[in-house]
Symmetry: C2
Subunit: 253 residues, 2 copies
Amino acid sequence: MPRYALLVAYDGAPFVGWQRQVNGLSVQQVLEEAAAPLNGGVTPQTVASGRTDAGVHAEGQVVQVDLSLDLPPERLREALNTRSRPHPVSVLSVARAPEDWSARFSARGRAYRYRILNRRPRPALEIGRVWHVPQPLDAAAMHEAAQRLLGRHDFSAFRAASCQAKDALRTLDTLDVVRDGELVVVWTAARSFLHHQVRNLVGTLAEVGLGRRPVSWPRAVLDGRDRTKAGQTAPPDGLTFLRAEYPDPLDWC
Amino acid sequence: MPRYALLVAYDGAPFVGWQRQVNGLSVQQVLEEAAAPLNGGVTPQTVASGRTDAGVHAEGQVVQVDLSLDLPPERLREALNTRSRPHPVSVLSVARAPEDWSARFSARGRAYRYRILNRRPRPALEIGRVWHVPQPLDAAAMHEAAQRLLGRHDFSAFRAASCQAKDALRTLDTLDVVRDGELVVVWTAARSFLHHQVRNLVGTLAEVGLGRRPVSWPRAVLDGRDRTKAGQTAPPDGLTFLRAEYPDPLDWC
């Protein structure tokens, strides 16, 4: 069976998350049901590079699927986009992938963006796409605190209680905090992330940005390895999965 | 009664448009009902600088309202934003305005942006915010055609049948078409616009962008003054009211 890689964008708001769940519609279910007619009517199984939570968006999620049909990538993209209507899920590109390629395990890097709307008036056009923080944030202080978290550490303090990873050792490559007008944008990249890691890092950095904690505090939280000492889990709305990187680039249509 | 100017952003998707209508919720109704407790419980009347249609968004709509209470602008902004929840309407700023100031009749300029998502895959995160045109558009040809429409003309060919303006003479100051990656963005400014004028101009320019009509065609349509000869009315989703300009700048909070 040919293996395909799908580059997928979605609005996370109406979904229970990437992963199939009994309590509602997932992005995975939308894509698998759209692909079933291309797989002899049998619903195929998909694997994503990053399993985003409910409300988290994607601009470049990478998804793996094996189908019985051998299709030109453009035709598969068109078929999936026709069949996934009217859900806010779009297959941007398709590539044929080697049999031993895994969207999840072959990925060598993942990148996310987190957007905070930092102004007094509440969001209107930005509803569901930002975390609204009405008090002024010091983005430079947040950035300085963030730089002290880079590198290989035990990120137990920033993992969800529900996190299923065997250990919490991760290497954080990028954690930049940049002000862009009324937005404070956090850019982060790593080989992989723990469950809720980005949202817990953002919630912790926000305490520094609000002036409630010193620039040194997030590093002290990291070193303490105690989740109950970190800041709040920032809401999913502001988070977007941007891309996954693979050692052998795929030939996207 | 003090007169206030409100700078308002909204997502047009859930509304029947700016103006009150019997068949559904309008932005005007949301703001007027939010303001009623600040006007002795009496629902005040608002006037907008541009009466946007259903589905059309605003980043900087200017709205006029007279209230019985004399409030600091910041307090009025906070009160309206609290009371207009959970609708996607946000009062960004408030100014005290002179008694003879009119959001509609004092405006000397209005600016709109129209966004076309010009790629094969359908929108996901951009749903409701763009017009999706899957065939390649020649933005440079659209821009060239647009320049021939600038200046003072009878825009009868680009006005809606329902347009209530006494005449169709308008002066188009800006009509720029710019490609920005997968987006083709139309920027336009004029003292005032006719009903559906921007959407009819965009629909007509798109015919040129698709190569179905020559660059000279939109000007020929203008000169013909016949609405039935122009392109389609582009959908409201891509249109955003950006700002209104006044000869005496307001003192926004």
